[in-house]
Structures are given as C-alpha cells and as structure tokens.
Amino acid sequence: MITLLYLARYALRDLWGKKVRTGLTALGIAIGIASLVSLFIVSLGMRARIEGEINKLLGYSVIVRTRNNEPMSIYVVHLLSNTPGVKRAVPVIVGSGLVESNNAFILAVPVEEIEAFQTILNGHSISSEDALECLMAKESAVRMGISNGSIVRVVTSYVQEGVSLRVAGLSEVGGLFQAALAGPASVVAVSLKQGERLLNKRGLADMILIRVNDPSNMSYVVNAIRSTYPNLSVSTEEDVLNQAQSILNTIDAVIFTISAISIVVAGVGTMNSITMSIREKIREIGVLKSIGASPTQVLYIFLMEGLLLGIMGGIMGSVMGVGLGYVVVKEVLPRMFRFQISLPFIVSPEPFINGLIIAVTASFLSSLLPSLNASKIRPVEALRYE
C-alpha cells in the first residue's frame, strides 16, 4: 500500500512538473465532461418538467380517444361517467385557428375543469360555458400586445367571420407538454361550448379525460373501459409518460452521442499526453526497472497519471458543466424558441458522479495502451535511449 501511495505521489509530481501540458489535457477532458454534464442537466430538467406536466394534467386520470383519433360522440362521456370507479369524465376538444391573425391552438374543456389544464397567472378563469371569454398564454398575449380584458378575434375554418372573446385571464405557458401540442402557436383556452361552436364539434369530443374516485381503482377502470369499449384507446399517465420518455430517450441518445465525440477527443488528448510523458521518461523507466520496479508498478505509475488527469478533468468539467447547464436552461433555451420553455434547474449529485466516472473511465482506457507499452519496455533498451 505504501509503495502504491509512493508511486501515486511520483505520478502526481510528474504531472505537476508539466503544469501546462497537464492543465491543457485536463481542460480537454473538462470540456468533454462539461458538455455531457450540461446536457445531462438539460435532460433532467426536461424530464422533470414533462413528468410534472403530465402528472398535473392526468394525476389519477386516464385519457380516452378513439383508435383512429376521430372525434367521438359526447354520449361516450356519459357512458364512461357511469363506469364503476369513475369520478368524472371530462370531454376535451382541440383544434386550430387564428387569434388576431396569428396561428393559435384552441383547447376547449368544461369551465370547471379549465384550471386543471391552465394555471392562471393574471385575471380569473372563464366565468361560464356561455361567456364569450378565453384564457391566453401569457407569452403569446404579450407578444401580440394583448392584456387582461382585451377583446380578441378568434377565427376558425368553420367560423370564418370569427368570434370576439374577452381575455379573462393570462395563463402560464411554456409547459413542454403544451409546447409539444401547440408548437410555436399561441394557446387559447375556451369553454367547451365555445369550442364546439368554433371547431364545429357540437356533441363531439376529441378526447375524454377520466378521473377515478380512488387511485387503487385505476387499473380496474382502465381494464373495464378497454374490455367494454374495444374501439377506444386508453392512455394512462404511465402510457403518456412512456411515450414522452421514448421521445426524450431519442433526444438523449443524440445529445449523448455528440458529447461522446468530445469525450473521445479528450481521450485521444489524454493518450497523447501519456504517450509524450512516457517518451520523455523512457530512460527513467529503464532506471526504475533496473532498481527493481516490476512491469505492474511501471504500468501503475502511468495509469495513475491518466487517472489523475481524469479526476482533475472530471471535477473541472462537472463544475463547468453545472454552470453551463444553468446558462443553457435559464438563458439559452428560453431565447432560442419562440415559445417559452421554462425548465427547472435541477442540481443533483448524479451529473457530478456520472461526469467523474466517465472522465476517469475515459482517461483510464486511453492511458491503458501507452502504459502497457511502457511496462513492457526492456530496461536495457530504455537505458540506452537518449
């Protein structure tokens, strides 16, 4: 153990003796790790946000659609309401139109349910099903110069003359779930009755949100609906999450591939640094072997150099990555898209640990080959080396 510590100190001093090279190599690793950690933080934020959104929307609920995604009769809502274990069946109508000549996504739900879909920041909810009122996403409202109480004209292909609605409240926007539904379009929430009129879906619903009266009844309700109404597709929170996860996993795979390239580049940098170090120290390796250092001990010295570079680069990279992650989440992403994405900035030990493990593993692997070669150098040849 003492011998290993002594040799580790030897490796550390060797690195310290070449500060510039050590610093640059560690920086190379740090940049790779920083990109990985920052993307990891963005990914964590995205996941948390999406899970939160889905959870808020669905909670102990399921979404029912027809298998071909055609609208279904509102009668189905009544049928489903009577299914044992169901607390409430909420019809939802969705469609597109124009608000003050801007593309808009129209979401229509019964007024008493509207706050489950939209968090109101200013003003109040829609007062009644008949009221000519709407809720607007705050960001798009601001962009269009619309404030609380303004009158907006909503036009659809069915109501080409348009309907004037008073903006009752501004809602929170930026939810990824909403962004995924509406894209860069503005989101306008109206009562179910107004929605039926605007989108020509009287007596119809695009989807039905089912609330169960007890969480333990969830699977019973899902199975009951599936067996009774084979033409309907039932999505639980888990199903929606899984769908979202698969999209997120694809995004993750792309960003981690990009990060992996930078880590490979850092690994090549480490390999180069260790190879240079070994070339410079060939004679010293010969001396070490002649005074009794075993090939394993020589291997250990240079692997230790690689590991130390990895630890240094990993720590630097993790810290840089957290900072970069913060900037991306809080500054870059919100400015990059027309619709606002407000992701939570989550600091957990996970990115740190992962960053460190990846840095150390990459450095270890990239220093393995040159170190193995160093351990095999014959002392007599190393001593002759000038």
Partner: protein, 292 residues
C-alpha cells in the same frame, strides 16, 4: 564455502544488426567475482564492457553461456523473477547518475526499499538517511531534487540508492565519467571505503585512476576478457595501440595544418617574425610530445 557473488561461464552475446550483420559483443567471457571483491573492467569503447555489465546486472541475457548470482543460475529466469532478483541482489550506479527527477535525494534512496516492499516508510527513511551519511552526502540537501545537486552529490545519492537493498554486488558503469576531478576523487574514495566495509563492487571504467584502486583489473578487448590489463594501457590512455596510433596521426595532421596556417599568416605580413617564431616553437614542442 559460500558461492561466488557473480559467476559468468562462457558468456557470449551476439547482436543482429539488420538481417545479416552479426556483432559479437562478448565471446566466451568467464568471470568469477567473490564476495568482498572490488574489481574493475577496463577497455576501449565498443569492447563489450557495457554488454557484460548489462548481463551481470540481469538487464540483458547472454546468447550462450550461464550467469550465476549467489549460486543461482539466472540465465533462464523469467522477466518478473529477474526484476525481483535485481531488486534484492544488485545495485546500479550509472555514469549519468540517473536519479528520478521527481523525487528528492532521500526519496531516491528510499525508492528501491519501498519497491521491494520489505521496508515501512519510516524504516526506509531512516536507512536512507544513514546510507546518505555513509556516502558523505550533505544532510542539508536531503530534500533537494536532483537538478539542485552537483554531479558529485548526485552520484553519492546514486551510490546510496545502489546500497539500499543491501545488494550482493554493486555494478558501477563509469561512475566518475561525468564528474570533475575533485568529485571523481570523492567518489573513488567513497567506493574504496564501501569495499573496505565488505561491499562487492564491479566497476566498468575508462578512468585508470579509478581502476588502480580496485583489487583486480580485467581488460576487455573485442568482446574478450583478459585478467590483468596490459601495463601500457594502465599507464597511458585507456585505448588500444592501434586506436592510439590512429589518434596520434590525426593529431599530427592537425598540427601540420596549424603550421601551414602560421606560415601563410607570416608570409602575408599578418603576424610579426617574433610571433611566428614563438608559434613555431610551440608547435614543435607539441609534435615532439605526440611523437613520444
């Protein structure tokens, strides 16, 4: 009766340069070194001294013949066994000191002990301190790295390092080859002292002064080892007659060129007749010395 410290029996070493060219570095060399011996191997460059030293130090293997250290035949030992053997049985002193640059003087001496795993850190430090005192290393420089030590000081550290694991013998390759006169004298005195304390020392050197203090002098030429070097070699330069004659001719040629140069300068009036006479006299003196 205990076995010799080192015994080389009919050791030959042939190097291959390219595909066909064979270089016979050692030809049937036999050498027996008893415990407490202080021997030197002298000879011209390329005579095979260093090859013999490497083989005696288990750094290289003979093409044929046997090498026995402490009675153990090491000729066929595996690389890892040889490493263990070197660690415990052989101490090395090199011409260019070859200290580990990242370690301080005392750490360099501790290193073989720690590599052997036979010593604790405390024991290694204490023994290293005693060894450095023994070789006359100044104690206020214990923590200095090698680049802040003089050549003589570095070589003392190297000798202390060679003694670290109490080896069967010390192999010293030109230990004074890179030192000034006074440092050489100190190293020679140190080695003599260590031998008087019972350490077996084998030196390969060009330094006749150093060879003279050893108990036995071997002479190497063309890969063959002769007991007792020719007197003329000890008295003159460590070079064989043929090489010496060739060097003499080169020196005389240089002096001839010098004479021609002076005559040209005199004829063109660039130097005075007194300066010409003085330079000519100097040249004649030098020529006489070289011819003698």
């Amino acid at each position: 009766m205990s076995s010799p410290a080192l015994e080389c029996v009919n050791v030959s070493k042939t190097y291959l340069l390219g595909k066909d060219i064979e270089v016979k570095a050692l030809r049937n060399v036999s050498l027996k070194v008893e415990r407490g011996d202080f021997i030197s191997i002298i000879g011209p460059s390329g005579s095979g001294k260093s090859t013999l030293l490497h083989i005696a130090g288990t750094l290289d293997r003979p093409t044929s013949g046997r090498v026995l250290i402490d009675g153990v035949d090491v000729t066929e030992l595996s690389e890892s066994s040889l490493t263990a053997f070197r660690k415990n049985k052989i101490g090395f002193v090199f011409q260019f000191f070859n200290l580990i640059t990242n370690l301080s003087a005392i750490e360099n001496v501790m290193l073989p002990m720690l590599l052997s795993r036979r010593y604790t850190l405390k024991e290694a430090r204490l023994k290293a301190l005693h060894l450095l005192r023994l070789v006359g290393f100044s104690e206020d420089r214990l923590r200095n790295p090698p680049n802040r030590l003089s050549g003589g000081q570095q070589q003392k550290v190297a000798i202390a390092r060679a003694l670290a694991n109490n080896p069967t013998y010390i192999l010293a390759d030109e230990p004074t080859g890179n030192l000034d006169v006074s440092s050489s004298a100190e190293i020679i005195a140190t080695l003599k002292l260590l031998n008087s304390f019972g350490n077996t020392i084998i030196i390969v050197t060009h330094n006749v002064e150093l060879a003279r203090i050893t108990n036995k002098i071997f002479f190497m030429r063309d890969g063959q080892l002769y007991e007792e070097a020719p007197r003329s070699f000890l008295e003159r330069m460590p070079m064989d007659e043929e090489a010496l004659e060739s060097k003499r001719r080169i020196q005389l040629d240089i002096l001839k060129l010098e004479r021609e140069n002076i005559e040209r300068l005199f004829k063109s009036g660039m130097i005075s007749s007194e300066a010409y006479e003085r330079a000519l006299k100097n040249l004649e003196d030098k020529e006489a010395r070289v011819k003698h």
